[in-house]
Amino acid sequence: MMLRITLFGALRDADARGFIELDVPDHSTIAQVREAVQRYVREHALTISPNLIQRSAFASDEEVLHNHRQIPENGMLAILPPVSGG
């Protein structure tokens, strides 16, 4: 299925549109999505360090989704680099 992953913070550099789209198997886990994102940035966004992807979380609008969780049915995810609010 097509996943749309919204970008925030330093990860906005990965695509000026503010999101990336990835084709992943249905029912992928977040851990699998993370690997797909790693491959994507290796090919398309070399300025993004793999370590930053490793330290980023994934989330729906409602909650952070940890590695064992499956992707949401609506195919919408956000990738959240380490946070620095306040």
Binding site: G9, P82, S84, G85
Partner: protein, 169 residues
């Protein structure tokens, strides 16, 4: 519940509203009001800052603020009011980035609630700060990972380091 107010404020439209925060938490039951205001500083890590930009994942940020408020309510275990607002957009030196106000019957819970809320906002809310420097350069601040495994490791390291995060916030 009307005892928790959360907001993300686009400061292109209006600044954060300290008086509004105090009004919200005001209540004849409460004698103690603790507030924290985070402002944009002119220097960070030795560099001259001209402004910062805040990027937020707004729906999740608001849910996170609300969850922080509910956790605070549990901690207090009695009446309290809590206001959490964070700015988004481009801020200049002195602009308000975050306003927290907590009110409770007595001062100790007010201080604890306010502190709990600002620590949680800084460490848990999906908010990112980009600093702009006088030389035209800019950089996203290092932050706290929201990944469970990284987060646990970072918090443990922070405790060892005398409660200071390696990334300095």
């Amino acid at each position: 519940m009307t005892d928790i107010h959360t907001a993300v404020v686009d400061i292109a439209h209006a600044p954060l509203d300290v008086a509004g925060a105090l009004d919200f938490v005001s209540d004849p039951r409460f004698g103690g009001v603790a507030t924290f205001i985070g402002r944009v500083r002119q220097h960070n890590l030795g560099r001259v800052v001209t402004g910062v930009s805040y990027d937020l994942f707004e729906p999740l940020a608001l849910r996170t603020f609300q969850a922080i408020g509910e956790r605070a309510r549990q901690e207090v275990g009695g009446p309290m009011k809590l206001y959490i607002a964070h700015a988004k957009g481009h801020l200049r030196i002195g602009d308000l980035a975050v306003v927290i106000a907590a009110a409770t019957p007595h001062r100790d819970e007010a201080f604890r609630t306010c502190r709990l809320a600002i620590e949680a906002v800084k460490h848990e809310a999906p908010i990112w700060k980009q600093e702009h420097y006088v030389d035209g350069d800019s950089a996203w601040s290092e932050g706290c990972s929201l990944c469970e495994e990284h987060r646990d490791a970072e918090l443990a390291a922070a405790k060892q380091g005398g409660n200071k995060h390696g990334h300095g916030h």
